[in-house]
């Protein structure tokens, strides 16, 4: 069964058609890459899949349920967690608190529990903290656990965002340019982390500009250009596609 299926997604902003009849299908356990030149509609598609935008037409089906036009919090609950292209951490919370917020929807305690601190609430709170700590360890920023998120180094902020997304127990992790602004060493270690996440059974949808990373990491790749999907397939196959070459480098001279 497919994990995520987007069918004929269309989205326009005013007169600008950002996505036109884009479909994609992601299998459980794969790393699926989404590439394309700037302005091709990658992030728009991301925002449609994660509920930030409502599509004008088309459907998003995840794990057998229709998620089209659902609110972001319901989509996370269904199992799609995301990161943002321009890091959107809770800047003035500590790193561990950021991850603890990610556990919000997998916990129950309400205002009354918070005030009374009954045994169930305390146990839940301890479990949240423990899990957050594990996740910080997992992505490798545990030594900065009590630093404010905004004071973390850039690469660590990206990792923290991944930890926060993982805290929601996703089936699909959607990463919007996780390697942006990273140097070669950081990218290599990020790649290790993503492979580890996949090995732990989480499917990954990845927008990325770093071609080397995409080609080395992804099982399949879709290429967007001007809001249309122009190619899809194994990285090596897509790389040789004339339409893709034209999208990136321009067509042959007439």
């Amino acid at each position: 069964m497919l994990l995520l299926e987007a069918r004929n997604i269309r989205k326009s902003f005013g007169g600008l058609l950002a996505l036109s009849e884009v479909s994609l299908a992601i299998e459980p356990g794969e790393i699926y890459g989404l590439i394309g030149p700037n302005g091709a509609g990658k992030t728009t598609l991301f925002n449609v899949l994660t509920g930030l935008y409502k599509p004008d037409a088309g459907a998003v089906v995840f794990n057998g349920t229709d998620l089209t036009g659902k609110k972001p919090n319901l989509i996370v609950e269904a199992g799609i967690a995301r990161t943002f292209q321009n890091i959107r951490l809770f800047a003035n919370m500590t790193a561990i608190e950021n991850v603890m917020v990610g556990r919000h929807l997998r916990a129950r305690a309400g205002a009354l529990g918070a005030v009374l601190r009954d045994r169930a609430t305390l146990a839940e709170e301890a479990a949240i903290r423990r899990r957050a700590h594990e996740l910080l360890e997992y992505v490798g920023v545990v030594r900065h656990g009590h630093a404010l998120a905004k004071n973390l180094a850039y690469g660590d902020q990206r990792r923290l965002e991944i930890a926060r997304a993982l805290a929601t127990d996703p089936k699909l992790l959607a990463l919007d340019e996780p390697a942006a602004g990273m140097n070669a060493t950081e990218t290599a270690s990020l790649r290790g982390l993503l492979e580890q996440i996949r090995a732990d059974g989480i499917t990954i949808l990845l927008i990325e500009h770093d071609v080397k990373l995409v080609m080395g990491l992804c099982d399949r790749v879709a290429v967007l250009d001007y809001g249309k999907k122009i190619a899809e397939g194994a990285p090596a196959h897509v790389q040789g596609d004339p339409a893709v070459i034209e999208a990136y480098l321009g067509g042959a001279l007439p």
Binding site: R88, F90, M93, L105, V115, E124, G145, A167
Partner: protein, 368 residues
């Protein structure tokens, strides 16, 4: 030397005996405070402290909305008004209804929470300046309603307000009179003081517990980045409404207490300026920090009174006449104090440790 003192302080804090001793000291101080005030500066001051405690509850309530959840609410006093009128109308000759206070206070709280949700719901999509303007309008709407709901059916008695509100009575002991208990006579102001201290401490306790919880984290997450908060699975609508409701609850309780303390309410007590004052208490004290907000409320509620009682006599003594009217001097100093605090301590007089780090932005990687 200083490090040694700090280490000692730290050890003291860890020691449970020291903690109990400190607690006992605070309890004793709070117990004798009204008598000490009455003996030294007069009973007026006990009353001023009573009102300051009401402001403390208000500021703590507003702090949930503004400080924790980051929703700038300029109409907060409306919930105070709702609580005050709910109490006034159901415990006065106005309708001839005389419900007991212990029923009216929770009722006022629930009613205020309801109004918090009703007024909060239309503002859910608004942020920052826009939210401030709309809440400002809602606050005024409530006051104008109270002012005009005397015709065609007289509900609120309009600008004349509601008079002869029942005082709080415990075991036949009316808080409007002096009562003798165990051979000590307690004036009504003192009894109110004890009740208000207890309730203010309860509100503080609730705030502190909420702050360090799943709900508290969700509020702060929304304050920091609403879109990211929603993308992390927080139902931002419900959590924001919860903030409005919790904040309004404390406002409603404080309103009921205000009614019983004054014995009279009119729409004049709930003007925009009151909302601004409470907001100033929150900002000046240290937005989002419970102890700071309490400090801000107590300071801003008592210092103007101090000025009122000293400025005129002082000028009379030094200059032979009163040049600056204490009321205008009060506004002047109020403004000056706010500007100074914003310049010198932008996070407030007593900010939370995190907020302080935020504004100094020192790069101090913590460890787990």
């Amino acid at each position: 030397m200083r490090a040694g003192a700090r280490a000692m302080l730290h050890r003291l804090r860890q020691d449970p005996r020291a903690r109990w001793a400190g607690l006992a000291l605070i309890v004793v101080a709070l117990t004798v405070l009204p008598f000490a005030l009455e003996a030294s500066v007069g009973r007026t001051w006990v009353r001023i402290i009573d009102l300051a405690l009401l402001y403390t509850m208000l500021a703590l309530g507003l702090n949930i909305v503004v400080g924790f959840a980051g929703l700038l609410d300029l109409g907060y006093i409306a919930f105070y008004a709702v609580g005050a009128y709910a109490y006034a109308l159901l415990a006065s000759p106005h309708f001839g209804v005389h419900l007991p206070w212990w029923l009216l206070l929770p009722m006022g709280a629930v009613l205020a929470a309801f109004f918090g949700v009703v007024l909060g719901a239309p503002t859910l999509r608004l942020r920052g300046d826009y939210l401030a303007i709309v809440t400002l309008g809602f606050g005024e709407i409530i006051r104008i309603f109270l002012n005009n709901l005397n015709a065609p059916i007289n509900i609120t008695n309009g600008p004349q307000g509601v008079n002869l509100i029942d005082p709080i009575t415990i075991e036949g002991m009316s808080f409007a009179k002096t009562n003798t208990l165990l051979g000590i006579s307690f004036p009504g102001t003192h009894l109110h003081y004890y009740l208000f201290v207890l309730l203010a401490m309860l509100v503080m306790f609730v705030c502190i517990r909420l702050q360090d919880s799943r709900i508290g984290r969700a509020w702060v997450a929304i304050r920091e980045d609403e879109i990211a908060a929603q993308a992390m699975g927080i139902n931002t609508r419900n959590i924001k409404l919860l903030a409005f409701a919790m904040g309004a609850t404390f406002g409603g309780v404080a309103g009921g207490l205000f009614s019983s303390l004054q014995g009279f309410v009119s729409p004049e007590s709930f003007v925009v300026w009151e909302s601004i004052t409470v907001l100033c208490m929150v900002v000046l004290g240290g937005m989002g920090h419970v102890a700071g907000v309490v400090l801000g409320a107590l300071m801003l509620a008592t210092l103007p009174e101090l000025l009122r009682h000293t400025a005129a006599p002082l000028q009379q003594q030094l200059l032979g006449k009163v040049i600056l009217d204490p009321e205008s001097l009060r506004m002047l100093l109020f403004g000056l104090a706010l500007i100074l605090v914003m310049l010198l301590r932008p996070a407030g007089l007593w900010p939370s440790p995190t907020r302080r780090r935020e504004l100094t932005s020192a790069r101090a990687p913590g460890t787990l």
